[in-house]
């Protein structure tokens, strides 16, 4: 039996700045995971990953990350992905202080 598909979001790093971004249902990349498309089937996940190959001018290193649906939208399920939504814990740097409005 194939392993059950667990819900995913597509995530990557922005090409120029390198910060974490998530793919939305409209096909743009958001700095906020809550905006991400919540993918619940493997076929869609594979299609979206194929689409990212046309996005090399915007992002680098796309991959599928596990997610769960929360009140505001998709949320990370693993601490690594959770850290990517905030930034490092030793300084107030990264998303925890930067404005999240420069979607591409």
């Amino acid at each position: 039996m194939p392993k059950d598909f667990t819900p995913k979001v597509v995530t990557a790093n922005r090409l120029m700045e390198g910060d974490a971004v998530w793919l939305t249902a409209n096909g743009y990349w958001s700095s906020d995971i809550h905006d991400a498309e919540f993918i619940t089937d493997e076929g869609t996940a594979n299609l979206r990953m194929l689409d990212t190959e046309t996005q090399a001018h915007l992002i680098a290193g796309a991959y599928l990350a596990d997610a769960a649906m929360g009140d505001k939208g998709p949320e990370p399920t693993h601490f690594r992905e959770d850290f990517r939504t905030r930034g490092p814990s030793n300084y107030a740097h990264g998303k925890q202080v930067d404005k999240v409005d420069n979607n591409v």
């Binding site: 790093n13 700045e17 974490a20 290193g61 601490f79 690594r80 814990s89 030793n90 740097h93």
Partner: protein, 554 residues
């Protein structure tokens, strides 16, 4: 110090120009990420969790003040005002933007620095004793040989696509401060009949399969060093496992084939290539050596220094912990702690870098070193200048008196930055240092090496920490394993795993319990943690770490 000749200068400039073109082609879409990735890695540029990271080589840990000033400039202009000194004697910038990196590399070239071969399956930055050229216990300064190795290995056509990365460490002292037994090749200078040569150690390494290196030859004449090292790398380049990256390092090759077979193959290869070394390398070495001539040491009265020591307890405490004996009369080696309690190990601000550069210019014969323990060294300071130097360090928040103590912790960037990490390291180091500072016992504890890695790759050298901490992902939660009894020196040993791991909330109390327990177990206040561990074995320390299991067994 070595100054680039015309060849070095044009080579580094050309690489910057090439990379500028590669970045432009990546941005305009002519290069895919798959095509660009190996090119950026060749120039030290990684993509991490939150941003790009640029790793800049500090060759054998040596810098002059102009270079340190430039590192400060990069931190301020292209990063968030700081840089991170690593266990490989490099500096990492955590927040550069892709479009700025060619300018950063161009700035570095202005002061004779680069980021070449700080990544990839190449020979990496050659590391050295951070007290090289200054230590009282040294046979000779190993840095000329390190520089020769740098020149030989940079862009060496045979060694650009090896089975895996390759790390060489060198020391000129019998007291090994360069962790030579945990490198692919370790070189230890030794004397035989009055002539300096090298004991050559191969197959050491930490990571997933920690190994203490084995002696392949106990005395290699200096003139044979380069062909012999080339023979080792050449043999491994052919034999090394390219089918499995976990078995690709030379430590596994040595383990699988045995040191005797590797020695036989290296000797055969050496015999083959030795005649092609016409002596040009020795001429080059002689030229390099001239550039590493010791500075003109001054003579001055040290009575003032002694008087300040008596009058100022804080200064006295700092001199007790942060100074090391120098080869020249009246001089000291100053270790500047980049481990203020509660701060990130190895992080210095641009302002602090400028202060250290200025102090090197004013009091330190223009030299600085980066240690693998993530501190900064002023190798040549006359004792009469120490009170003024100390005052300047205090003003810059750089006067922490904790070198070699419990809060002088090595920690890798861990999951706060690194894409490979499985758990965070920095917050654990911050909490441990803060806790021991609150308890005010670290001077009473004495010499103690705590080393923390945020994944099995062991950049934080946890295997060779007296107390090692390894952060792992256990079922989606950060979990920290403790190893005990590791040793990074000439008596190198890999620590023994103490038992089940601890959660992020449990690990700091566990370390506190362990250290307080050691203080009860030691025979005298001068028996170090490592000595007590070697006398008693692991059992009493396990009992301290896991009191419940002891109770259950009773």
């Amino acid at each position: 110090m070595y100054k680039y000749n015309d060849f070095d200068e044009s080579f580094v400039r050309e690489r910057v120009a090439q990379f500028r073109g590669q970045v432009a082609r990546r941005i305009d879409g002519s290069l895919t990420e798959d095509e660009f990735k190996p090119l950026r890695l060749m120039n030290g540029l990684y993509l991490q969790l939150h941003a790009y990271m640029l790793r800049v080589a500090v060759p054998y840990g040596t810098l002059n003040s102009a270079q340190m000033d430039m590192l400060a400039h990069l931190a301020q202009t292209y990063d968030k005002g700081y840089g991170h000194f690593t266990t490989r004697q490099n500096i990492q910038y955590n927040w550069p933007e892709l479009g700025d990196v060619p300018d950063m590399l161009s700035n570095l070239a202005d002061v004779g620095m680069h980021a070449i071969q700080t990544s990839g399956n190449t020979i990496r930055n050659v590391t050295a004793d951070h007290f090289a050229g200054a230590a009282a216990d040294e046979i000779a300064d190993p840095r000329p040989v390190a520089e020769l190795l740098r020149q030989w290995s940079t862009d060496h056509p045979e060694f650009q696509f090896m089975p895996r990365k390759f790390k060489i460490a060198i020391t000129g002292s019998p007291n090994d401060r360069a962790v030579t037994k945990a490198h692919d090749i370790g070189l230890r200078m030794v004397l035989r009949d009055g002539a300096a040569g090298y004991e050559v150690i191969v197959g050491g390494g930490l990571g997933r399969t920690p190994m203490i290196g084995k002696v392949i030859t106990d005395f290699l004449p200096q003139a044979d060093l380069l062909p012999y090292v080339e023979a080792i790398v050449s043999v491994w380049n052919r034999l090394g496992r390219r089918d499995n990256k976990y078995k690709s390092r030379i430590k596994i090759t040595v383990h699988e084939h045995g040191i005797d077979e590797i020695r036989r193959l290296v000797d055969a290869r050496f015999a083959e290539i030795r005649p092609s070394f016409s002596g040009v390398d020795q001429d080059m070495l002689a030229e390099i050596e001239a550039q590493f001539a010791p500075p003109a040491f001054k003579t001055a009265d040290t009575k003032g220094y002694e008087a300040v020591r008596l009058a100022n307890p804080a200064f006295r405490s700092w001199t007790d912990t942060n100074l090391t004996q120098h080869r020249a009369d009246g001089y000291a080696i100053v270790s500047i702690s980049i481990k203020k309690h509660g701060a990130t190990p190895g992080d210095a601000t641009a302002d602090q870098m400028r202060v250290m550069a200025d102090l090197a210019r004013t009091y330190g014969h223009d030299e600085l070193r980066i240690s693998h323990e993530q501190n900064v060294i002023l190798p040549h300071v006359h004792k009469s200048d120490l009170p003024k130097l100390y005052a300047a360090l205090r003003s810059a928040d750089l006067a922490t008196a904790n070198i070699g103590l419990a809060s002088d912790i090595i920690a890798c960037p861990g999951m706060d930055y690194c894409a490979l990490a499985t758990a965070r390291s920095i917050p654990i180091a911050q909490e441990i240092a803060t806790r021991f500072d609150e308890l005010k016992i670290e001077h009473d504890i004495g010499a103690l090496k705590i080393k923390i890695s945020g994944c099995i790759n062991a950049c934080g050298h946890h295997h060779v920490g007296h107390i090692g901490i390894l952060g792992l992902d256990r079922a989606g939660v950060e979990n920290y394993q403790i190893t005990l009894g590791g040793d990074h020196t000439e008596t190198a040993a890999v620590g023994e795993r103490a038992g089940p791991g601890f959660s992020a909330a449990e690990i700091v109390p566990a370390i506190e319990r362990l250290v307080l327990g050691y203080m009860d177990l030691r025979q005298a206040s001068d028996e170090t943690f490592l000595e007590a561990y070697r006398r008693l074995g692991v059992a009493p320390f396990k009992a301290i770490l896991y009191p419940q299991e002891k109770a259950n067994a009773a």
